[in-house]
Every structure is written in structure tokens, then in C-alpha cells.
Symmetry: C2
Subunit: 789 residues, 2 copies
């Protein structure tokens, strides 16, 4: 049950289109959401969709992957192993600002007379463009065209063009190209001890100066800035170059300082003669390199980029996106709002591309690089929500992300020690590898992240084969299995129990035998044991390396298998359902029907202890287990569990709807499957969660793909065997998608008349379609006719 209104953006402002999101008019009402919707990024740099003028800017932000500040957590009660330092992604200096003055009048959209206006996010081109005609107070008409991109090809490059043309009269024109430190802008205004916002999803407002200028340089039209963060000591280099192209006479000037630098063009514009400014920016960060070195890197990048020109960036941008869409695109022919649906699907998938494309040596924050919310932390979202999509469409990125997680294994080992356990325990939320959650119940107690990571490795192996597992995955599997075996214990019932943990549903915390956790831990233990045995039998060299690396002891594998075999899985025989944990059903049931809409999400309206007392779910915990471990539940069991938990589920977590959609589809509840799909699909575009202004819900965006492919497409890959049980909704006439699976490229097209499965590239593949085995081979698609009901 979700108590959320879906308010679609009005079509006269945001028309439905296949491949673009267009804004037809500047408007206050949607301005904050639009900042998120028009964000650009490449997984290394992200810029929010604020205007070239730099204002109005509601939550303007530029973020560089992994570039964060640390700060001391201050609260009353300390304890061993509690996180002592917060980590917050830094809002790095904004290079997108190009302020325009005509006759010394500034262009400012909220008050400007604008004769025509469009702002377009082109999801094939990977650009954000704006085109407007401004009628100044003195009656002159000015065309202002701009375009912006964050290069998918060149990960350190952000580039933009800004073209001003006087249409009827000459006028003095000033274009001020700025670099503005917004992170510390507020630090001058706020009291150091000001109240923090009460929304746990928002970033901490850091009361101290974060970015300290170590280098400020201006040479001609080029600015070079170097910063170091106060506590984390990370370095940041920014280089900005300007190329001017105009037949109008002009002069240049500039200045640099810690917080505000600018290059100013002053021209006398002639009617019909455009003034084009191309602005190239480069961002570099490091844990160790001095800013001078980063500045050198920026210089070299700028030299090369300027030489190749903006057109070259546009070309490579499209090439990258062609590759992305070739794998990732999902086409839906809906009977109602077909264009809007297609547009929304693509926007969500496009966001995942922007969040991950060049995530190399870093993770994917909960909001990608579209906001500072959730402090820019990496959660389990990556492994459980984003990786399935990437495994099937962009395995290169999936591999990078698993490697990144592996790179933090050392911290996870240390963390396990801090929690008196053997093996490794991955932090609930982190940027730098250390636990950054100061919330024991809803954070650190979510041990399930360990099993989620192990699960993602098994999932990757299902789709890609087990090369990565042999390489680095086994090490994670062993260390996570060790943790479970050490954490749990055999009760007097001889079952293996895991006490005092929190499952994915954060509305019930620190419980005994959370069913999701126990099931996933069992999977973790079994898969680790099977992996070690397989390596031993089949890859003696990798096995020897593993034994050395993790100090594998005799009997360990057997102990995991025993624990897995004895794992306690709570089951209520009266209701014939899986309780979320051992005492979940003893709680009172929250009166969701009687809760006013204004009281959602509960997490913003009730003290946690109040919420903890009830049967009420932030997200569908058991339902998620039934998707991830779907081969361990009968269809009937899935139905019963789903029907029990659905009325208890608020969906206050954006991670819930996509999963509810998948299981609803599987148990044949088409209405609910579509309803939940739409919630996930429109999470940000229609502001379903009410906080679209705080950035893209990346997990939900990737979940849209999962709902389509795993839900309606009915794709599963348990034990590496691909299967299809499609359930095309009656509201749709067609659904088609493609899958990269074990070096084959497979296309699936579903209509109500026919299901068509094609291997486009690679060897023939045995798959299950419904209950029947089929061989898919290149050149001979399998087409299954469905009689119309």
C-alpha cells in the first residue's frame, strides 16, 4: 500500500517525447525539481541543472566522486566502535556560471521578459541545451543559446557553450564567467552552531570552512584553482579555459580568489553578430597529490580539449550514449500516455548511466552525483538495485563497482574487529571505506549489507561467468561468510540463529532472526562454500592464492555449510507466512489507513521508537527476499507473504516500489505491478517521494529496469540458468529489451500475440521459457505465439 499522489508534470510545460525532456517555460513551481531532472554527470563529475546565470539556484551543486570532507560526530553518548567521523561529499566550486548583462541589465529569468524559451535534456546526445529570446527592459531582443555537457568520454571534463546575439539593436554586452565556491558560501553566513536540518536524508551542514585555497592562478582566459579540504585533507584541482568566437569587438579581464573567480568579456554587440563563449572545465582530485600536480593535470586536459574543440566532445558524447542505449534501452508501447511512459523509462535509465559511466575507483552514491543528500554515501543500493541492470547491460561498469567494493575490504576487516567478529563487515554507509553511520539501529545493525555484496558477486557470476569470482570475489565471499558464521549461534533448537541485526526495513530495528538477513546470510555461506570448493577442484592456482590471502583454515568451509544448513528461517504456521523477524507478528499493527497523508513518510513525522513498536514497513523486506531468492519460495508462498506485507508497507523508502512491482507481477497481480511500477518510474519526475529536489533516486531508477525486465519480462538467472516467464500487462501492447548474458547479446520482444527471443551475437544458449526449455541461436529466433485470451 502506498499513500502517494502521482502528479505528472504538466504537458504544456514538459511535453512527452521519446528521447528528450524539454522545459517549455521557466516556472517557479517546478524549478527545484527541474534542477534535479536536468542534472548532468558521468559518474565522476556531476552538475545539477541550475541555470547559466547561477541564479535562481535552489540547491545548486557540483560533485566529484569520492571527494568528501570528514567531521567529528558530536553527541552525548559515545561507545566503542561507533562512527566518530561523518563523511560528506563536498559541493565543489561551480564552473557552470555565465552571467549575462546587456546594457548592464542582468538576465534573471524570474523577472525577465522572455519571448521564447526551451531547455532540453537530450538523452541521445547527452547534452543540456537552452535557447531563449530575451526582451530587455530597454526593448532590445537578445537570443541566448547555451549547451552543456559532462563528457562521458573524458571523465574530467565539463564543457559548455554560451552564445549571445543581439537581434535588433546594438548594445554593450558583458558575460561574466565565474567559478563559485558554494560549499563555503554559507559558512560565512551561518552561526557555527546552527541547527541541522531534521531530515535524515539531507546532508549535514558543515559549520566549518571545508575548501581551503592552496593555489589561485589566472593567465589570459584560463583560471587554475587548487583546494585542500580541512579535515579529510583531500586535494582538488580545477582548471577553466575560455575560447571566444565573435566578430564583435571585445575585451577580456578577470580575477581569482578563494571563493569567487571570474573571466569577464566586455563587448559591443552588433545586431546579428553572435558572441560565442566556449568554457571548458576540468576537475581533478586526489588523496595524496599536491594541488600543483592536479593543476598540471588540469592544464594538460584543457590544452587537449581546447585543441579538439567542443564539437569533438559532442561527437564522442553521442558515441558513448549510442553504446549505452544499444544495450540498455527498453521499449514499452503503453496504451495510455505512451510517449510519457517511454520518456520516463529512458530518463531513469539515463540517470543510471550518468551516475555510473565513469565510476572508476569509486562507488555510486544514493543520489548519484546529483545532490549532496545522504552525504554522498555509498549504501547497499549499488549491489542490490544498480548492479543487476549493469551486469546485463554494462558489465564493464558492474565489474568496476565490484572491484571498488573489494578495494575497501581492508576497512571491512577492521570493522569486523571493531564489532568483535571474525571476517569482514562492510560499513552501512561510507565514502572512504569507514563506517559513517552514527545510527546503530538503522545503520550499523544492517549487517545484511555483507550478504548483499556477496549476492551481487553471485549475481554477476550468474550473468558473466565466474572469472571475477576467482579473481577477487572469493576473498569477499570468504570474509563475509566468516562473519556470519561467527555472528550467529546454534540455539537450543539446534538451529543457527542471527540475533541483534536490522533488515532492509528500517522501521523495525535490532531484531532476532530477521528473515531477509538469515536467508541472505544462508546464501552467502553456501555460495562461499561452493566457490571455495569449486576453486579447489577446478582452479588450483587461484585456490592457492586465495588460501594464502585469507588464511583459510581446515574445516572452515564445512562450518559455513553446517550453518547454512541449520539456518533458522522464521515461519508462522498459523498465518502460513514468513514473519519479518522472530517477534514481528507480536507487534501492534500500525493504522496506515487512519494515518493522514501529511504524516508520511513516517520517518519525518514520528520518533523512531514509536515506529519501531509497530508492524509497519518502510520497505518490503520479505518481498525483496522473495525476488532475490525467488527459487526458495513457492509461488503460493510468495502470494501469501506479499498479501500480508503489502498493506503494512508505506513505501517510505524509494527502494520499495520497484521490488513490490516485480513480485506483484510474478504472483499475477497486474494492477499492483503496474501501480508500483509507476511509483518507481515517476519517483523523481512526478516527485512521488516529495523530495525530487534533493537528487535522483538512483536505486529506484535502476529498479525501473528491474521492474521491466525481471517483473514484466519475467527474467531470472538462478544458478546461471537464464529463464523467462513474461507477464506483459494488458495496458501495454509491447515490451522489448535486450540482455548481455554470458557473451551473448539477446533481444526480447513481447507482445500479446507473440514472444520473440533472439541471440544476436554469440554461441547458442539453452534457456527456459515458461516451463519449457528452448535453444536460442543466432539467426534462429524463438517466437512463441500466444493466443489472445
Amino acid at each position: 500500500m502506498l499513500k502517494r499522489a502521482i502528479v505528472l508534470p504538466p504537458e504544456h510545460l514538459y511535453p512527452p517525447e521519446e528521447w528528450r525532456v524539454t522545459e517549455k517555460r521557466y516556472n517557479d513551481e517546478f524549478a527545484d525539481r527541474a534542477e534535479t531532472v536536468f542534472s548532468l554527470g558521468n559518474g565522476f563529475v556531476g552538475v545539477r541543472g541550475s541555470f547559466e546565470e547561477g541564479r535562481p539556484a535552489l540547491l545548486p551543486g557540483t560533485f566529484v566522486s569520492g571527494f568528501h570532507e570528514t567531521w567529528p560526530i558530536m553527541n552525548t553518548e559515545k561507545a566503542p566502535g561507533l562512527a566518530r567521523h561523518g563523511q560528506t561529499i563536498v559541493n565543489v566550486p561551480d564552473a557552470t556560471i555565465l552571467k549575462l548583462y546587456v546594457d548592464d541589465e542582468p538576465l534573471f529569468l524570474p523577472t525577465a521578459r522572455v519571448n521564447s524559451y526551451s531547455r532540453i535534456l537530450d538523452m541521445q546526445a547527452g547534452t543540456l541545451s537552452r535557447d531563449l529570446v530575451w526582451a530587455t527592459a530597454s526593448g532590445k531582443h537578445v537570443r541566448v543559446r547555451s549547451q552543456r555537457l559532462v563528457s562521458l568520454e573524458h571523465r574530467h571534463v565539463v564543457a559548455m557553450t554560451f552564445e549571445v546575439t543581439l537581434l535588433d539593436h546594438p548594445a554593450p554586452v558583458v558575460i561574466s564567467s565565474m567559478i563559485l565556491n558554494r560549499q563555503d558560501a554559507h559558512a560565512r553566513d551561518v552561526e557555527p552552531l546552527e541547527d541541522q536540518p531534521g531530515d535524515p536524508r539531507l546532508a549535514t551542514v558543515l559549520p566549518h570552512r571545508v575548501l581551503n585555497a592552496r593555489l589561485t592562478e589566472l593567465a589570459d582566459q584560463r583560471i587554475l584553482l587548487g583546494y585542500q579540504t580541512t579535515n579529510s585533507g583531500l586535494t582538488l584541482g580545477i582548471g577553466v579555459e575560455h575560447v571566444i568566437d565573435t566578430a564583435c569587438p571585445y575585451q577580456m579581464s578577470g580575477s581569482v580568489s578563494e571563493d569567487t573567480s571570474e573571466v569577464i568579456l566586455t563587448a559591443v554587440a552588433q545586431p546579428g553578430v553572435p558572441i560565442l563563449v566556449t568554457k571548458y572545465a576540468s576537475y581533478q582530485t586526489s588523496r595524496t597529490a599536491p594541488v600543483t600536480e592536479l593543476a598540471d593535470r588540469c592544464r594538460r586536459t584543457l590544452d587537449r580539449t581546447v585543441r579538439d574543440g567542443f564539437g569533438s566532445l559532442v561527437t564522442s558524447q553521442r558515441e558513448n550514449l549510442d553504446r549505452f542505449w544499444d544495450r540498455a534501452d527498453v521499449r514499452v508501447q503503453a496504451r495510455l500516455h505512451p510517449l510519457r511512459q517511454q520518456q520516463a523509462i529512458r530518463w531513469n535509465l539515463y540517470q543510471v548511466a550518468q551516475a555510473s559511466w565513469r565510476a572508476e575507483g569509486s562507488g555510486i552514491p544514493a543520489k548519484g552525483l546529483t545532490a549532496q543528500a545522504y552525504e554522498g554515501h555509498y549504501f547497499w543500493d549499488t549491489e542490490i538495485y544498480v548492479l543487476p541492470f549493469l551486469c546485463y547491460t554494462q558489465p564493464r561498469i558492474a565489474r568496476n563497482l565490484i572491484r571498488f567494493r573489494h578495494s575497501m575490504l581492508g576497512y571491512a576487516r577492521e570493522r569486523a574487529r571493531e564489532l568483535s567478529q571474525r571476517g569482514a563487515l562492510f560499513p552501512w554507509r561510507t565514502i572512504n571505506g569507514e563506517e559513517a553511520s552514527s545510527n546503530v539501529q538503522q545503520g550499523t545493525a544492517q549487517y545484511h549489507i555483507n550478504a548483499d555484496i556477496a549476492y551481487a558477486i553471485s549475481r554477476y557470476a550468474n550473468v558473466r561467468g565466474d572469472g571475477l569470482v576467482a579473481d577477487i570475489g572469493a576473498e569477499i565471499l570468504v570474509e563475509t561468510a566468516r562473519l556470519w558464521e561467527d555472528l550467529g549461534f546454534y540455539g537450543t533448537d539446534e538451529k543457527f540463529h542471527i540475533h541483534g541485526v536490522t533488515g532492509p526495513d528500517e522501521y523495525t530495528t535490532v531484531v532476532n532472526d530477521n528473515t531477509y538477513t538469515n536467508l541472505m546470510a544462508r546464501q552467502n555461506l553456501s555460495f562461499a562454500a561452493a566457490t571455495v570448493r569449486r576453486l579447489r577442484d577446478e582452479r588450483s592456482e587461484e585456490y592457492a592464492a586465495l588460501v594464502h590471502e585469507v588464511g583459510l583454515r581446515p574445516g572452515e568451509v564445512e562450518s559455513w555449510e553446517l550453518a547454512a544448513a541449520a539456518m533458522h528461517v522464521p515461519f508462522d504456521h498459523d498465518r502460513r507466512i514468513h514473519p519479518q523477524d522472530d517477534t514481528f507478528l507480536e507487534r501492534e499493527v500500525w493504522d496506515l489507513a487512519g494515518t493522514p497523508p501529511g504524516k508520511f513518510p513516517l520517518l519525518l513525522n514520528y520518533h523512531p521508537l514509536v515506529v519501531y513498536r509497530y508492524q509497519v514497513l518502510k520497505q518490503a523486506d520479505i518481498v525483496l527476499a522473495m525476488f532475490l531468492l525467488g527459487d526458495q519460495f513457492s509461488r503460493e508462498q510468495k502470494r501469501r507473504n506479499f498479501e500480508y506485507y503489502d498493506p503494512l508497507t508505506t513505501g517510505d523508502s524509494s527502494l520499495s516500489a520497484c521490488v513490490q512491482s516485480i513480485i506483484a507481477a510474478e504472483i499475477g497481480s497486474e494492477r499492483q505491478a503496474l501501480e508500483y511500477f509507476n511509483y518507481a518510474l515517476l519517483m523523481d519526475l512526478a516527485n512521488v517521494a516529495g523530495n525530487a529536489s534533493n537528487g535522483v533516486h538512483i536505486a529506484s531508477a535502476a529498479g525501473v529496469w528491474s521492474s521491466l525486465v525481471f517483473g514484466f519480462g519475467g527474467v531470472r538467472d538462478f544458478d546461471g540458468r537464464l529463464s523467462f516467464s513474461p507477464r506483459l500487462p494488458r495496458a501495454w501492447s509491447e515490451l522489448s529489451f535486450s540482455l548481455r548474458f554470458r557473451d551473448r547479446q539477446i533481444r526480447v520482444t513481447l507482445t500479446h500475440d507473440e514472444e520473440r527471443y533472439t541471440v544476436e551475437k554469440g554461441e547458442p544458449l539453452q534457456v527456459m521459457i515458461g516451463r519449457e526449455p528452448h535453444l536460442l541461436a543466432p539467426g534462429s529466433p524463438v517466437a512463441i505465439k500466444r493466443p489472445q485470451p
Copy 2:
């Protein structure tokens, strides 16, 4: 089971004495503990026992009741109703410093050659005195005598004398009398973002300047200082006056500044001619008054105090203590270490006097005014541990403390709203009435504080009659009963359940049906109902006022009675014990025997989640219920419960031992009763908890009295009926104490031959002695001969 070593202070350094604690030699090893042991206070001002020279000073501190700073709690995850501001008692400027220079050589004890030395805390006189002869490097001998008191009669006054006499040669002498702001001394040295100490019991190190000088004035030998705190905005006035008495020629000078002010005496001392400096200090604080007004108050206090002289303070000090000891003294004749035992008993009782005597309009911090630990917060300690002693010996103070709690009822009502409940919920820890705990599990979830406060009111009524109940107590009773009735619910078993709370034992948190909480809530509900009914029947005027004040609705009282009658009390029929909560017995048992001594207390050595998973107790939770609600358990049940929990109890909480001693005595386990008594008795003097340097454990100190009177004395007062079941240990030959009960003064003297009960003042009283009723009347003591076994 307690794994604590009791290391008595060595007798050659700290000889056992009846009424004094003497330090015979300056020593490094015990220096930090001594700062606590030699603390002085009157419940309004407290000064730690650091030396006149101001150094060495390990944790020097001066505290004024209720004078605190607030600061923003900074952590990653916010939620509604979580405490947003920390509250920390301020270390106010230290006026005890008198630095001595002879021939420009400073007196500094760690390196000084000292020919004789004694420092004496006189618990009858209420003074701390030091007398030493210093042999300077140049071979001169100097006698330095000083005395210090915090006036019990004049709550704003701290006074001290400092007398220097050259014994053999003349010498230039300088005495620098300082006022030093230690709170902000470190603020200049530490990085603003420095790590906080990991011990949850220590105060937060505030990175900002706390005390801002608003007034600095020097006139002759008088200094006046006014401060305002940065965030809480409280004001503080300090006045210091100096009176010089000497036949030696001398000159005075001085200076004032924000952090360091001083008055300097420069003299040429003649042999045998003493130089006596008497220093009077006055502290004033306010929430609203400007510092100028506080300075005026200080001026008036100083004028009066100087006029009356130091001798007058000494006289009134002893008068106050005579009154205290007349009621509070407990005499024990132990067969082993009799003097040491008597000394330790008196030191503990004396600490309670120092923490509470002038606590007017404020509470008693966990450490009294002897340290900044626990941030100076008020907990349930006051109601459950300190009030019983005060009810029976100093009812004036008990009444003040209940009135102070009542003054915070408005905040408690607001707090209940924040937690979505009706009625009132008192904060777990506070100075200003707002919840200051940022720990949900171990802090806010301790709803039992509500019942503890209600219990204290019922206890006060048992001892004093119900005048206070009718006046203000009923309002608290109604509001707390409302909370319980609203918080709990009727389960399918038709029992009344309370979910999601933490009991006194903080090693198991946020559980369903914590037995202590349910029992205490039941008592709260019943007593509230009975009180309202009695007022309605017997005191119609007070009843009308109450109905008006709390908006009593029809049926409310009945609903409390129903909830009380249906209250679920967990019971395990197999083990025939009360489990601490509904699932406590499902947990693994912590291997206490196998835990190395260095790993205690667990709270400093294990992440909370680790501890939460096990059957292991910080303090004896059920055992406490069996003491407070002793009439609700059979003796046999008490024995079984005690024997189950005792091996699980670490005693990591200083609140545990005294209660374990009482129940051990009751069930006839004399050995354990004495052992636990000794832990409580020597908690600070022998540093049993390992943190005596961080201030006096006031609850344990008062618990010493409870162990003596309720434990060995066997005193109970259920339903206002006084009863005695003494169990004099074989190790003691005599125990005597007195009780103020319903306007009678009763003395009890127990030996192994005879028990003697005397009403010294007041009407005859019916009491139970053992199972027999007796009438105690003035002039006719009841003496019960006990045949020697």
C-alpha cells in the same frame, strides 16, 4: 558476579579515622582520585579537591548547579524528536587558586621538598585543610596552612584561608590569588574538530568558547566578573574579595581579564610572622538576569560575608553538619577494619550532603558537583537512589527535589507529544528539562524514568504522609499514568503490554515487556488511580484543582486500573524466574568467566550491538524491582531470580552493587550482601569502578545508606507501614541508624544480642518487627533479645 578488584588506599597515606579523611603525603599515584575524594560542595557550588597552587591539577573543576552550555548534536542521521542539543555543565572559573612564591621560587608539590604534610577533609566541620612545611631550594622553611569550605549555610559562598609563615629566615613572599577560566582554557589549544573521548561517561569537550566575559572589574582587592554562555545564554557572576592580615609589610596589585584575573600580595616576610590571606568567593547564576545584577548580588554577599568573617562561616558550617549527622549517621561496628568501614560509610553519606544540601530549584547530577562527567545531567538516580535516604533523613531536601522535578513537567508534557504520546514523559537525562540524550536505545527508550519518579512520590508519601502528593505529586502521577496507558496496548492475550522500551539494564535495549518497566508502570498506574480516588473522596479542594490542572476526563482512572490489572508480567515457567523481558532468555549467555578483566566495563570495550545480543547485565534490573516492589515477590521467588541474574551481572553500572547487596541480605546470602556492600561502599574510595577521578558516584553513595538500612537493617515501608527484618552480618557486632518517619524520630540499634527500637520524638507508632507488630512509643523502647546462635 562482579569482576572488580578492591584496592584499599594504603593506611600510611590515608589512615582510617572516624570522622576525617586525611592524606599524609602528596603522591602521584592517588592524585587523581584524591581530587574527587577531597571535593567540597553544598549542592549549589562544588569545587574539586585540587591544590591551592592550581597545579598539579588533573581534572580541576568548579561547578554551579544548573549552569550549563548547550551545543548542537551533530551526527549523520536525524529523526523527529531526537535530541538536537547537548547540555553540558560548565566548568566555571576557579577561585580556589592561591599561588605561593618564596624567593621567587614557586611552591609546586611534585618537586617541592616537604618536611611535613597533611590534608584533611573533616566531615563534621565541613572543611578541607592543609598544613605543610616547605623547605625551599635556598634552605628556608615555610609553613603553609590553608583551609577551604563551601558554605552549607550561605549557598553562594566559597571561602578559604591561606597562611604563610617563614620559620627561620626572612624572604620576599608573593601570593597570587587567581580566578582562572578553565572551561575555555583548552578551547585555545584544541583543534575545533578534535576527536571526542570515547568514554560515554565523560563530558563532551566543547570546541567553542563557552564563557564570554561581559563584565570585568577590579577595585582594591575585590574582583567582579560577569559571563554569559555562548549558546544557552545563561549568566554567571563571580565576586572575589581578599582580606589580608599580617604584621609583615606588603603591597597589593591586581589585574582582570576574560580568562585570568588575579590579586597579588607582595610582602617581605619575617620569621615567625604569619601572612594570612582570607579569600571569599561568591557565585551567582541566572537564566534571565544581566551580569550587572549578578555582580550586585555578589557584592552584597561579599560585603556581608567579609563583615561576619571566616570564623562565622566555620561555625555555621558545623551547625549544619551537626543537623545532618544527627539524622543521617549510621554507625557500624565491624570486626575487621572497623575504623576504615566507619570512615567510608561517613564519607559516602557526606557526599550526598554535599551534593544536595542546597539543591534548591535544581537537581542532583550523577556526579553531584564533583565533576563534569555525565555532562552534569540529572537522571533517575535522584528518585530511585538518593531520595530514599533523603526522605528518611532530610525530608526538606527530598521535597525540594520532587518540586524541582515537578517544575519540569511542562517539558515532559511536550516530550510526550514529540513521542506521539499523551501525558508526560520525563527526559532520560537533562539539566534544563529537555531531553539531552542522543542515544535512542540506551537513553530515550528508558521510559521507566516516568515510573521511577512516580515511585519516588509514593515513597515520599509512605515516609512523610501525602501532603506533597495532594499539592503537586498528583499532577505528575496523572500525567505519567496517562503515558503508560497510552503507550501500552492490549494484546490478543488480553494482557496489557508495553513494547519498545529499555529497562534500567542498558546492556539489553528496546525490548518488549521489560519486566521492571511493566511492574513499575503497573505501580504508577495503580498509585495514580488510588491517589485520584483518595483526593476525590477526602480532599475535594485539591481534587478540584487537580481536575482543572490536568483536565481529568471521566473514565481515565478506570482505564489506568484496567491496564494495571491486565499488566503482562513475563514469567518463565520452566526456570520459574522472571525473564528481564519477553525474549531475554532466548539470547546467548555471555561468557563472563571467560572475559578478561581488562575487558570490563563492557561498555568501554564492545560495540553496543555486540553486548545487546547476550544475556549479560550492566546492572541488576529484576533485582532492583524486587527491592522497590518487594511486597510483590515471595522470598523464594526473590531467591530464584537473584540466583539466575547474579552470575549474569557485570556491575558495570555503579548503581548495581548496593541493590544486589539489599536483596542478597533479604534472601539470607550474607556473604554476597557484604561483598556487594563493600563494592558500593568503596566505589570511589578504593576506585572500584576505575573512574573515581571522574567524580563521586552519588547514587552509589546514597545506596550505601540503603544497603545499611534497607539491606542489613531490613527496613521497609510498603503502603506507609514501617517494618523491620534486620539481618546483622556476623562480621559486624553493631549497626545503628535513625529514621525520620511521619514526624517521629526513630533510632535503631542492632547487635547480635539485642535489637533496640526507640521513638525519640513524636507520637507512638505501630511497626512490624519480623512478623510481629509492636508499638513504639517515646520513652519505652522496644528491645528484642536475640539468643546467640
